[in-house]
Symmetry: C2
Subunit: 388 residues, 2 copies
């Protein structure tokens, strides 16, 4: 165990152009970056056990404050000793603030400077979430990394984005003031839609508050890849080198490469487990829908270069059979593969940065990605800007 | 690897009253009896991976010929190298004949002396299953133990039972004649409803055909525990000591104890995984429905004497939360526990027979079972005759 005085220290181990390899120290062990975090929305990474997550070298897991607050309740989780104990995940955990889900899931929400009043999507009960309440919930959950309560704006409305950004800044101050626990790192969230000017102002304001880490929120919500890259490029030079940067809710292989190129350290996304439940296998350069009849007699693994449990032991034909037969195991095997694929992509990226090989790695990736997707009739939504 | 000349040899290692501990040698390793076999109806033990099955010391797995014939098709499975390869189960497998499912699942079935014509429950297509066809399918699947094609009768209709028994006997001869592979053990199936006289005739006839093992079919289909026990007691003395006996589709803890007491070696049942998907945990003496609100803040494991992955790592409160949140992981964790519970019951039974302690073990079990169930308001369907 590292010394307390090093808690939440971020050490930059290597840098190539803007790409970074670092180590962030948490109470549940070090986070080696770049890293991809699977999402356990309701305190469960869907369809896999903690043991299976460990087998695929998962380190950081994300869970959602909004969901856990509503069910089973953060106080119940505090009683059992926190989220690590509750969901049997003894490695680092990150919780979001509840903000994003309030905007995307809750019904009849009303936002004021004080906070957000909303109706639960589960039972219709009314709730009021404020920066102070979000911190209190996240302290009950006990994750290693917690997030400020923010307002997520539609990406293209500049006036709305500016208002939401200013509110997010005021709330960031209140979150800092409300925080009591010293064993959790509170990250600020840069907002400002697709507008580089707003993003600059947001980054500057938050850096002034000296958070132990910075998230970039409000992306991957409908904007183009170019717009996302422009925002990342605007923010990167303003964020301190010695703090981790987290790109929220982003996680296709291409997005991860593009994010690392622009200085991002931490990624999370529901995509690998959600695609798994919709019969899709992710490989580095493309996706396969295993429901497709062409896989009925395909006895190869999903990816014969992949070392995951699924690819080492099961064929495409078997997984397609499980899908056709509506067997739960299909979701489990595809989730294991998809998560492994993203986690090991970030592991390889990290190694290439440490070896001063990342530029080459990224160029090869982007070329292969283009080649793999050029001739697909059904163009993947991942296709987009591929410039370094 | 044992010598070929010992293939399908059953060695009786210990016997206490009628209870037996033995070893049955198959091409995929020895089966140590008494044993409980999880059911992988569609080539998947629902909600668990092969690796998880190995972790809970599963040895024998059952799969269903009717389901696999209809989907994905036995020829496809033969192409990939058989069921062991297809479903990634390298330990012994048993397939049933398809008979039972034709009677219980298929639509508009018509039985003649030749075989059964039926409509698929999946797509309405028409099929004709005969003893020869059943063997041909099972040879394509390639299980270690295969079953004769039989007719299952309603348990209380004596005339129907006698006809079905005679047809089962005629079909057993045809199955033996049709069988080509020498690396599969074909078991005969004793039929005859709840009528000891018919059961005696059936056992005598089949023993005359010298099968390498004998199943007792048509039980656990609505008859009482006493009736089941009476049939087992009628059949036991007629079956040869040096062949394994398999009680089809039976598998509550009480049924297993009662079966072992009456000379049974092999059990299988969908109950542990089916109950798991309906939120129920099986322990040795009773069941718990974890959806019950009383478990909301119950931070104990399902069974604090249980060594399974679920009980070692997760609380009742967490599993209830998963159920409420409709998380797939609930079914996985409960399946692991329920299967572990039955498999380790048979392991303990085996050890007690080897140690000459089984009578004591069974008496303690039955006393504790009575105690645990006496005061339950909602009487369990497991409650019944408990005499040795």
């Amino acid at each position: 165990m590292f010394m307390d005085r090093h808690l939440f220290e971020f050490t930059l181990q290597a840098k190539q152009n803007r790409a970074r390899a670092g180590t962030f120290l948490t109470p549940h062990g070090p986070i080696l970056t770049p890293i991809f975090a699977p999402v356990g929305t309701q305190a469960s990474v869907k369809a896999v056990t903690s043991s299976q997550l460990i087998d695929i070298d998962t380190n950081l897991v994300l869970s959602n404050t909004y969901h856990l607050y509503l069910r089973p309740g953060d106080e119940l989780i505090a009683q059992i000793g926190g989220l690590h104990e509750f969901m049997n995940w003894k490695r680092p955990i990150l919780t979001d603030s509840g903000g994003y889900q309030v905007y995307s899931l809750a019904e009849s929400r009303k936002i004021t400077d004080d906070g957000v009043t909303f109706r639960s999507h589960i039972d219709g009960s009314m709730h009021h979430l404020t920066p102070e309440k979000s911190i209190s919930i996240q302290e009950n959950l006990g994750a290693d990394i917690i997030m400020v309560f923010d307002e997520c704006a539609p990406p293209y409305d500049q006036a709305y984005s500016e208002n939401a950004m200013n509110r997010t800044h005021a709330w960031a101050l209140r979150c800092q003031a409300a925080k009591k626990r010293t064993d959790q790192a509170l990250f600020g969230i840069v907002q400002g839609g697709v507008f580089p000017d707003l993003r600059n102002r947001s980054a500057e304001f938050l850096v002034g508050l000296d958070f132990p880490g910075y998230a970039i929120g409000g992306l991957s919500v409908g904007e183009t890849k170019d717009e996302m890259n422009t925002v990342l490029e605007a923010v990167d030079p303003l964020l301190p080198e010695n703090k981790p940067r987290y790109l929220m809710g982003v996680g296709t292989p291409l997005d991860i490469i593009n994010g690392v190129i622009r200085g991002i350290d931490i990624f999370d996304c529901v995509l690998p487990t959600r695609l798994a439940r919709h019969h899709a296998a992710m490989t580095r350069y493309r996706r396969y829908n295993l429901l497709n009849a062409s896989y009925a007699k395909d006895f190869k693994p999903i990816d014969d270069t992949c070392d995951c449990y699924t690819c080492k032991n099961y064929s495409r034909a078997y997984i397609r059979h499980l899908i056709m037969a509506k067997e739960i195991l299909a979701a489990t095997l595809l989730s294991i593969h998809n998560l492994f694929s993203l986690i090991h992509l970030t592991t390889e990226i990290r190694q290439s940065i440490l070896n001063n090989q990342f530029i080459h790695f990224a160029e090869s990736f982007l070329t292969e990605f283009e080649d793999a997707n050029r001739n697909l009739r059904d163009l993947s939504p991942e296709k987009g800007s591929t410039q370094i």
